[in-house]
Amino acid sequence: METIRDDILVRVRRVLIDSLSLNIEEDDLQYSESLDQVIGLDSLAVLEFIAALEKEFGITIEQEKLELSLLRDLSALADYIQSLSAAPPASDTPA
Protein backbone atom coordinates (compact mmCIF):
# COMPACT_ATOMS: atom_id res chain seq x y z
CA MET A 1 0.00 0.00 0.00
CA GLU A 2 2.88 2.32 0.84
CA THR A 3 4.28 1.88 -2.68
CA ILE A 4 0.96 2.85 -4.23
CA ARG A 5 0.74 5.92 -2.04
CA ASP A 6 4.32 6.90 -2.84
CA ASP A 7 3.59 6.53 -6.52
CA ILE A 8 0.50 8.73 -6.16
CA LEU A 9 2.53 11.34 -4.30
CA VAL A 10 5.14 11.42 -7.05
CA ARG A 11 2.43 11.87 -9.67
CA VAL A 12 0.67 14.59 -7.63
CA ARG A 13 3.97 16.42 -7.40
CA ARG A 14 4.54 16.13 -11.15
CA VAL A 15 0.98 17.28 -11.93
CA LEU A 16 1.47 20.31 -9.69
CA ILE A 17 4.68 21.35 -11.42
CA ASP A 18 3.41 20.68 -14.96
CA SER A 19 -0.08 22.15 -14.62
CA LEU A 20 1.16 25.39 -13.11
CA SER A 21 4.35 25.54 -15.19
CA LEU A 22 6.33 26.00 -12.00
CA ASN A 23 9.95 26.85 -12.48
CA ILE A 24 11.24 24.27 -10.00
CA GLU A 25 12.72 20.80 -10.23
CA GLU A 26 10.65 17.88 -8.92
CA ASP A 27 13.34 17.04 -6.40
CA ASP A 28 13.24 20.56 -5.00
CA LEU A 29 9.59 20.17 -4.07
CA GLN A 30 9.40 18.44 -0.71
CA TYR A 31 6.49 16.11 0.04
CA SER A 32 5.90 17.90 3.28
CA GLU A 33 5.59 21.28 1.58
CA SER A 34 2.17 22.85 1.43
CA LEU A 35 0.75 24.53 -1.64
CA ASP A 36 0.99 27.92 0.07
CA GLN A 37 4.74 27.64 0.19
CA VAL A 38 4.94 26.72 -3.48
CA ILE A 39 2.33 28.91 -5.22
CA GLY A 40 1.00 31.18 -2.50
CA LEU A 41 -2.75 31.45 -2.02
CA ASP A 42 -3.69 31.88 -5.65
CA SER A 43 -6.99 30.07 -5.79
CA LEU A 44 -7.13 30.26 -9.59
CA ALA A 45 -3.92 28.24 -9.75
CA VAL A 46 -5.57 25.80 -7.35
CA LEU A 47 -8.40 25.31 -9.86
CA GLU A 48 -5.95 24.56 -12.62
CA PHE A 49 -4.26 22.09 -10.32
CA ILE A 50 -7.61 20.43 -9.55
CA ALA A 51 -8.45 20.10 -13.26
CA ALA A 52 -5.04 18.56 -13.99
CA LEU A 53 -5.29 16.17 -11.01
CA GLU A 54 -8.71 14.93 -12.05
CA LYS A 55 -7.46 14.33 -15.58
CA GLU A 56 -4.31 12.54 -14.42
CA PHE A 57 -6.05 10.18 -11.99
CA GLY A 58 -9.42 9.93 -13.75
CA ILE A 59 -11.24 11.01 -10.61
CA THR A 60 -13.70 13.69 -9.59
CA ILE A 61 -12.83 15.39 -6.34
CA GLU A 62 -15.96 15.39 -4.20
CA GLN A 63 -17.73 18.68 -3.64
CA GLU A 64 -17.16 18.68 0.12
CA LYS A 65 -13.45 18.02 -0.37
CA LEU A 66 -12.94 21.07 -2.55
CA GLU A 67 -11.35 23.05 0.26
CA LEU A 68 -8.01 24.80 0.36
CA SER A 69 -7.15 22.92 3.54
CA LEU A 70 -7.02 19.62 1.60
CA LEU A 71 -5.67 20.96 -1.66
CA ARG A 72 -2.79 22.83 -0.09
CA ASP A 73 -1.51 19.67 1.62
CA LEU A 74 0.12 17.40 -0.97
CA SER A 75 0.46 14.51 1.43
CA ALA A 76 -3.19 14.60 2.51
CA LEU A 77 -4.17 14.96 -1.12
CA ALA A 78 -2.28 11.79 -2.02
CA ASP A 79 -4.08 9.94 0.81
CA TYR A 80 -7.42 11.21 -0.47
CA ILE A 81 -6.68 10.16 -4.07
CA GLN A 82 -5.61 6.74 -2.83
CA SER A 83 -8.88 6.38 -0.89
CA LEU A 84 -10.83 7.29 -4.05
CA SER A 85 -8.90 4.75 -6.09
CA ALA A 86 -9.47 2.07 -3.44
CA ALA A 87 -13.21 2.67 -3.28
CA PRO A 88 -15.21 0.61 -5.80
CA PRO A 89 -17.01 2.63 -8.49
CA ALA A 90 -20.58 3.51 -7.51
CA SER A 91 -22.02 1.17 -10.20
CA ASP A 92 -20.19 -1.83 -8.73
CA THR A 93 -21.54 -1.30 -5.27
CA PRO A 94 -24.20 -3.92 -4.44
CA ALA A 95 -27.64 -2.50 -3.78
Partner: protein
Protein backbone atom coordinates in the same frame (compact mmCIF):
# COMPACT_ATOMS: atom_id res chain seq x y z
CA UNK B 1 0.53 45.95 3.21
CA UNK B 2 -2.75 46.42 1.30
CA UNK B 3 -5.15 49.07 2.63
CA UNK B 4 -7.69 46.44 3.58
CA UNK B 5 -7.88 42.74 4.18
CA UNK B 6 -10.30 40.08 5.18
CA UNK B 7 -9.70 38.38 8.46
CA UNK B 8 -9.31 34.67 7.89
CA UNK B 9 -12.86 33.44 7.67
CA UNK B 10 -13.74 29.78 8.05
CA UNK B 11 -14.88 28.31 4.77
CA UNK B 12 -18.45 29.24 3.95
CA UNK B 13 -18.62 32.11 6.40
CA UNK B 14 -18.81 35.79 5.64
CA UNK B 15 -15.43 37.47 6.05
CA UNK B 16 -15.01 40.69 8.00
CA UNK B 17 -13.38 43.50 6.10
CA UNK B 18 -10.87 45.47 8.12
CA UNK B 19 -10.59 49.03 6.91
CA UNK B 20 -7.51 51.15 7.46
CA UNK B 21 -8.31 54.87 7.57
CA UNK B 22 -6.95 56.72 4.55
CA UNK B 23 -4.94 59.75 5.81
CA UNK B 24 -5.68 61.70 2.62
CA UNK B 25 -9.39 61.94 3.44
CA UNK B 26 -10.99 64.72 5.49
CA UNK B 27 -11.94 63.73 9.01
CA UNK B 28 -15.61 64.30 8.36
CA UNK B 29 -17.79 64.50 5.23
CA UNK B 30 -21.50 65.21 4.72
CA UNK B 31 -21.88 61.66 3.49
CA UNK B 32 -20.87 60.36 6.93
CA UNK B 33 -23.88 62.12 8.41
CA UNK B 34 -26.21 60.85 5.68
CA UNK B 35 -24.99 57.27 6.17
CA UNK B 36 -25.27 57.56 9.93
CA UNK B 37 -28.90 58.62 9.53
CA UNK B 38 -29.57 55.96 6.89
CA UNK B 39 -27.95 53.04 8.69
CA UNK B 40 -29.38 53.64 12.13
CA UNK B 41 -32.56 55.65 12.80
CA UNK B 42 -33.95 55.37 9.31
CA UNK B 43 -33.16 51.69 8.79
CA UNK B 44 -34.70 50.82 12.14
CA UNK B 45 -37.80 52.90 11.41
CA UNK B 46 -38.00 51.39 7.93
CA UNK B 47 -38.32 47.93 9.41
CA UNK B 48 -41.74 48.96 10.73
CA UNK B 49 -42.79 51.23 7.86
CA UNK B 50 -45.24 50.11 5.17
CA UNK B 51 -43.59 50.00 1.74
CA UNK B 52 -45.79 52.84 0.46
CA UNK B 53 -44.07 55.26 2.79
CA UNK B 54 -40.74 54.56 1.08
CA UNK B 55 -42.06 56.09 -2.12
CA UNK B 56 -43.05 59.20 -0.21
CA UNK B 57 -39.57 59.29 1.26
CA UNK B 58 -38.10 59.16 -2.24
CA UNK B 59 -40.16 62.14 -3.35
CA UNK B 60 -39.12 64.16 -0.30
CA UNK B 61 -35.44 63.35 -0.37
CA UNK B 62 -34.77 63.51 -4.11
CA UNK B 63 -34.79 67.33 -4.46
CA UNK B 64 -32.45 67.62 -1.45
CA UNK B 65 -30.04 65.09 -2.92
CA UNK B 66 -30.14 66.80 -6.31
CA UNK B 67 -28.81 69.93 -4.58
CA UNK B 68 -26.31 68.28 -2.25
CA UNK B 69 -24.59 65.94 -4.69
CA UNK B 70 -22.89 68.52 -6.89
CA UNK B 71 -19.48 66.81 -6.81
CA UNK B 72 -21.00 63.46 -7.83
CA UNK B 73 -22.94 65.24 -10.57
CA UNK B 74 -19.75 66.86 -11.81
CA UNK B 75 -17.99 63.48 -11.95
CA UNK B 76 -20.96 61.88 -13.74
CA UNK B 77 -21.06 64.69 -16.25
CA UNK B 78 -17.32 64.41 -16.96
CA UNK B 79 -17.63 60.68 -17.54
CA UNK B 80 -20.72 61.07 -19.74
CA UNK B 81 -18.97 63.69 -21.86
CA UNK B 82 -15.98 61.40 -22.33
CA UNK B 83 -18.31 58.64 -23.50
CA UNK B 84 -20.19 60.99 -25.81
CA UNK B 85 -16.97 61.78 -27.70
CA UNK B 86 -16.88 58.18 -28.91
CA UNK B 87 -20.49 57.01 -28.72
CA UNK B 88 -23.99 58.21 -29.26
CA UNK B 89 -26.02 58.91 -26.12
CA UNK B 90 -29.62 59.65 -27.07
CA UNK B 91 -30.70 61.39 -23.88
CA UNK B 92 -29.78 64.87 -22.74
CA UNK B 93 -26.77 64.66 -20.39
CA UNK B 94 -28.31 66.89 -17.70
CA UNK B 95 -31.36 64.67 -17.72
CA UNK B 96 -29.21 61.54 -17.40
CA UNK B 97 -27.23 63.09 -14.53
CA UNK B 98 -30.36 64.09 -12.58
CA UNK B 99 -31.89 60.68 -13.30
CA UNK B 100 -28.84 58.92 -11.88
CA UNK B 101 -29.10 60.86 -8.61
CA UNK B 102 -32.79 59.97 -8.41
CA UNK B 103 -31.90 56.33 -9.01
CA UNK B 104 -29.19 56.48 -6.31
CA UNK B 105 -31.90 57.49 -3.83
CA UNK B 106 -34.38 54.91 -5.13
CA UNK B 107 -31.81 52.17 -4.82
CA UNK B 108 -31.11 53.20 -1.22
CA UNK B 109 -34.83 52.82 -0.44
CA UNK B 110 -35.05 49.58 -2.44
CA UNK B 111 -32.24 48.25 -0.28
CA UNK B 112 -34.31 49.08 2.79
CA UNK B 113 -37.21 47.12 1.29
CA UNK B 114 -34.88 44.17 0.59
CA UNK B 115 -33.53 44.37 4.11
CA UNK B 116 -37.00 43.55 5.44
CA UNK B 117 -37.21 39.81 5.57
CA UNK B 118 -40.51 39.59 3.73
CA UNK B 119 -39.41 42.19 1.16
CA UNK B 120 -42.90 42.70 -0.25
CA UNK B 121 -43.59 45.12 -3.05
CA UNK B 122 -41.10 43.91 -5.66
CA UNK B 123 -42.91 44.24 -8.94
CA UNK B 124 -41.25 42.27 -11.74
CA UNK B 125 -43.03 43.27 -14.92
CA UNK B 126 -41.22 41.06 -17.43
CA UNK B 127 -38.68 38.24 -17.62
CA UNK B 128 -37.17 37.47 -21.00
CA UNK B 129 -34.90 34.63 -22.05
CA UNK B 130 -35.32 32.52 -18.90
CA UNK B 131 -35.11 29.48 -21.19
CA UNK B 132 -31.42 30.25 -21.81
CA UNK B 133 -30.72 29.94 -18.10
CA UNK B 134 -32.85 26.81 -17.73
CA UNK B 135 -31.12 25.13 -20.68
CA UNK B 136 -27.70 25.98 -19.25
CA UNK B 137 -28.63 24.62 -15.82
CA UNK B 138 -30.04 21.45 -17.37
CA UNK B 139 -26.56 20.70 -18.72
CA UNK B 140 -25.40 20.44 -15.10
CA UNK B 141 -22.31 22.62 -15.36
CA UNK B 142 -23.79 25.75 -13.86
CA UNK B 143 -24.06 29.25 -15.26
CA UNK B 144 -22.32 32.56 -14.74
CA UNK B 145 -24.70 35.50 -15.05
CA UNK B 146 -22.67 38.43 -16.29
CA UNK B 147 -23.86 41.97 -15.88
CA UNK B 148 -22.84 45.55 -15.28
CA UNK B 149 -23.65 47.53 -12.14
CA UNK B 150 -27.25 48.37 -12.98
CA UNK B 151 -29.44 49.65 -10.16
CA UNK B 152 -32.02 46.86 -10.40
CA UNK B 153 -29.70 43.92 -9.91
CA UNK B 154 -30.20 43.40 -6.19
CA UNK B 155 -33.99 43.35 -6.43
CA UNK B 156 -33.81 41.14 -9.51
CA UNK B 157 -31.55 38.66 -7.69
CA UNK B 158 -34.03 38.48 -4.83
CA UNK B 159 -36.85 37.90 -7.29
CA UNK B 160 -34.91 35.12 -9.04
CA UNK B 161 -34.13 33.54 -5.68
CA UNK B 162 -37.85 33.41 -4.93
CA UNK B 163 -38.48 31.82 -8.31
CA UNK B 164 -36.07 29.01 -7.39
CA UNK B 165 -32.85 30.33 -8.90
CA UNK B 166 -30.56 31.11 -5.95
CA UNK B 167 -27.51 33.01 -7.12
CA UNK B 168 -24.11 33.41 -5.52
CA UNK B 169 -22.97 37.01 -5.83
CA UNK B 170 -19.32 37.90 -6.10
CA UNK B 171 -18.65 41.25 -4.48
CA UNK B 172 -15.88 43.55 -3.39
CA UNK B 173 -15.92 43.54 0.42
CA UNK B 174 -14.25 46.90 0.48
CA UNK B 175 -15.93 48.98 -2.23
CA UNK B 176 -14.18 52.31 -2.80
CA UNK B 177 -16.00 55.36 -1.54
CA UNK B 178 -13.99 58.51 -2.07
CA UNK B 179 -16.71 60.75 -0.65
CA UNK B 180 -16.73 59.30 2.86
CA UNK B 181 -14.66 60.96 5.59
CA UNK B 182 -12.22 59.21 7.90
CA UNK B 183 -14.75 59.04 10.74
CA UNK B 184 -17.33 57.50 8.42
CA UNK B 185 -14.75 55.15 7.02
CA UNK B 186 -13.76 54.07 10.51
CA UNK B 187 -17.21 53.67 12.07
CA UNK B 188 -19.77 53.30 9.26
CA UNK B 189 -18.01 51.41 6.49
CA UNK B 190 -18.10 48.02 8.22
CA UNK B 191 -21.75 48.35 9.35
CA UNK B 192 -22.57 49.27 5.74
CA UNK B 193 -20.78 46.17 4.43
CA UNK B 194 -22.70 44.03 6.92
CA UNK B 195 -25.94 45.77 5.98
CA UNK B 196 -25.26 44.93 2.33
CA UNK B 197 -24.55 41.34 3.31
CA UNK B 198 -27.96 41.24 5.00
CA UNK B 199 -29.49 42.28 1.69
CA UNK B 200 -27.45 40.13 -0.68
CA UNK B 201 -27.06 37.18 1.73
CA UNK B 202 -25.71 34.56 -0.70
CA UNK B 203 -22.36 36.06 -1.56
CA UNK B 204 -18.61 35.63 -1.58
CA UNK B 205 -16.18 38.50 -1.22
CA UNK B 206 -13.28 38.86 -3.62
CA UNK B 207 -10.97 39.30 -0.61
CA UNK B 208 -11.82 35.80 0.59
CA UNK B 209 -8.83 33.50 -0.15
CA UNK B 210 -11.30 30.77 -1.13
CA UNK B 211 -13.36 33.05 -3.40
CA UNK B 212 -12.43 31.27 -6.64
CA UNK B 213 -12.91 27.87 -5.09
CA UNK B 214 -16.36 28.80 -3.78
CA UNK B 215 -17.39 30.04 -7.23
CA UNK B 216 -16.08 26.83 -8.79
CA UNK B 217 -17.92 24.69 -6.24
CA UNK B 218 -21.21 26.44 -6.89
CA UNK B 219 -20.82 26.00 -10.64
CA UNK B 220 -19.79 22.38 -10.28
CA UNK B 221 -22.92 21.77 -8.23
CA UNK B 222 -24.89 23.07 -11.23
CA UNK B 223 -25.62 26.41 -9.56
CA UNK B 224 -25.65 30.05 -10.61
CA UNK B 225 -23.01 32.71 -9.95
CA UNK B 226 -23.47 36.41 -10.61
CA UNK B 227 -20.41 38.40 -11.66
CA UNK B 228 -20.09 42.13 -12.32
CA UNK B 229 -18.10 42.53 -15.50
CA UNK B 230 -17.44 46.22 -14.87
CA UNK B 231 -15.80 45.70 -11.45
CA UNK B 232 -12.66 47.55 -12.50
CA UNK B 233 -11.21 48.33 -9.09
CA UNK B 234 -11.77 44.75 -8.03
CA UNK B 235 -9.95 43.60 -11.16
CA UNK B 236 -6.94 45.66 -10.14
CA UNK B 237 -6.71 43.84 -6.83
CA UNK B 238 -5.90 40.61 -8.64
CA UNK B 239 -2.88 39.09 -6.98
CA UNK B 240 -1.63 36.81 -9.72
CA UNK B 241 -0.52 36.82 -13.32
CA UNK B 242 -3.43 34.55 -14.26
CA UNK B 243 -6.00 36.99 -12.87
CA UNK B 244 -4.37 40.08 -14.34
CA UNK B 245 -7.05 42.43 -15.72
CA UNK B 246 -7.48 43.13 -19.40
CA UNK B 247 -7.51 46.86 -20.20
CA UNK B 248 -10.07 47.72 -22.85
CA UNK B 249 -11.61 50.91 -24.26
CA UNK B 250 -14.94 51.45 -22.55
CA UNK B 251 -17.25 54.48 -22.64
CA UNK B 252 -14.47 56.85 -23.65
CA UNK B 253 -12.03 55.52 -21.09
CA UNK B 254 -9.46 52.78 -20.88
CA UNK B 255 -10.66 50.48 -18.14
CA UNK B 256 -9.47 47.27 -16.44
CA UNK B 257 -11.75 44.23 -16.71
CA UNK B 258 -11.56 41.12 -14.54
CA UNK B 259 -10.34 37.94 -16.25
CA UNK B 260 -10.43 35.43 -13.40
CA UNK B 261 -14.09 34.56 -13.96
CA UNK B 262 -13.34 33.71 -17.61
CA UNK B 263 -10.71 31.23 -16.52
CA UNK B 264 -13.16 29.70 -14.06
CA UNK B 265 -15.73 29.47 -16.87
CA UNK B 266 -13.14 27.78 -19.07
CA UNK B 267 -12.17 25.25 -16.41
CA UNK B 268 -15.70 24.50 -15.21
CA UNK B 269 -17.33 24.39 -18.66
CA UNK B 270 -20.24 26.52 -17.41
CA UNK B 271 -22.36 28.78 -19.60
CA UNK B 272 -21.74 32.54 -19.53
CA UNK B 273 -25.07 34.35 -19.85
CA UNK B 274 -25.27 38.15 -20.16
CA UNK B 275 -27.94 39.53 -17.84
CA UNK B 276 -29.67 42.90 -17.87
CA UNK B 277 -31.97 44.11 -15.09
CA UNK B 278 -33.64 47.51 -15.37
CA UNK B 279 -35.99 49.58 -13.23
CA UNK B 280 -36.62 49.63 -9.49
CA UNK B 281 -38.83 47.89 -6.96
CA UNK B 282 -41.97 49.57 -8.39
CA UNK B 283 -41.39 47.87 -11.73
CA UNK B 284 -38.39 46.02 -13.10
CA UNK B 285 -37.46 43.75 -15.98
CA UNK B 286 -34.98 40.88 -16.18
CA UNK B 287 -33.45 39.89 -19.52
CA UNK B 288 -31.21 36.88 -20.09
CA UNK B 289 -29.33 36.90 -23.37
CA UNK B 290 -28.24 33.88 -25.32
CA UNK B 291 -25.13 32.31 -23.70
CA UNK B 292 -21.88 33.76 -25.02
CA UNK B 293 -20.37 31.69 -27.80
CA UNK B 294 -16.95 30.96 -26.30
CA UNK B 295 -14.39 28.53 -27.67
CA UNK B 296 -12.74 26.51 -24.94
CA UNK B 297 -10.46 24.35 -27.11
CA UNK B 298 -7.64 26.87 -27.43
CA UNK B 299 -6.96 27.01 -23.68
CA UNK B 300 -7.68 29.56 -20.94
CA UNK B 301 -5.46 32.35 -22.29
CA UNK B 302 -7.09 32.39 -25.71
CA UNK B 303 -10.50 31.90 -24.08
CA UNK B 304 -10.02 35.15 -22.15
CA UNK B 305 -8.50 37.32 -24.86
CA UNK B 306 -10.90 36.13 -27.56
CA UNK B 307 -14.05 36.14 -25.44
CA UNK B 308 -13.81 39.10 -23.10
CA UNK B 309 -13.75 42.02 -25.60
CA UNK B 310 -17.07 40.86 -27.11
CA UNK B 311 -18.71 40.64 -23.69
CA UNK B 312 -17.40 44.10 -22.77
CA UNK B 313 -18.66 45.59 -26.06
CA UNK B 314 -22.09 44.06 -25.40
CA UNK B 315 -22.19 45.59 -21.91
CA UNK B 316 -21.09 48.98 -23.26
CA UNK B 317 -23.94 49.05 -25.76
CA UNK B 318 -26.43 48.20 -23.00
CA UNK B 319 -25.11 51.01 -20.80
CA UNK B 320 -25.34 53.53 -23.65
CA UNK B 321 -28.91 52.45 -24.30
CA UNK B 322 -29.90 52.67 -20.62
CA UNK B 323 -27.51 55.36 -19.40
CA UNK B 324 -29.69 56.35 -16.42
CA UNK B 325 -29.62 52.82 -15.07
CA UNK B 326 -25.86 52.30 -14.75
CA UNK B 327 -24.66 53.25 -11.29
CA UNK B 328 -20.94 53.57 -12.05
CA UNK B 329 -21.03 56.79 -14.08
CA UNK B 330 -18.56 59.06 -12.36
CA UNK B 331 -17.30 56.31 -10.05
CA UNK B 332 -14.79 54.70 -12.41
CA UNK B 333 -11.82 56.12 -10.54
CA UNK B 334 -9.25 53.78 -12.02
CA UNK B 335 -10.23 54.45 -15.63
CA UNK B 336 -8.01 56.53 -17.87
CA UNK B 337 -9.75 58.93 -20.22
CA UNK B 338 -8.93 58.23 -23.85
CA UNK B 339 -7.20 61.10 -25.73
Amino acid sequence: MPPSLVEAAPSGEFGRVVERPDPRRPWFAVKDLLWLFYLYPFRLAAALMPTGLFLMFNRLVDPVCQRLTFSRKRAIRRHLEAAKRFHKIEQDLDQVTAGLITNDVRRATDDLILHKLAARGLNCTRIQGLGYLEDALARGKGAILLSGHFYAHRIARRHLERMGYPTLSVRNGNPPDATMGRIGQRFLHQPYIEYLHGIIRDEVLIQDPECTLKIFKRLRAGGIVHIYLDAGVAALRANSEAKKPLWLPFLGTLRPFPTGFMRIACLSGCAVIPLLCLGDSRGFTITFDEPANLTRDAGPEEFVTAGLPGLVADLESKILKHAQQWELWGISERSTYLP
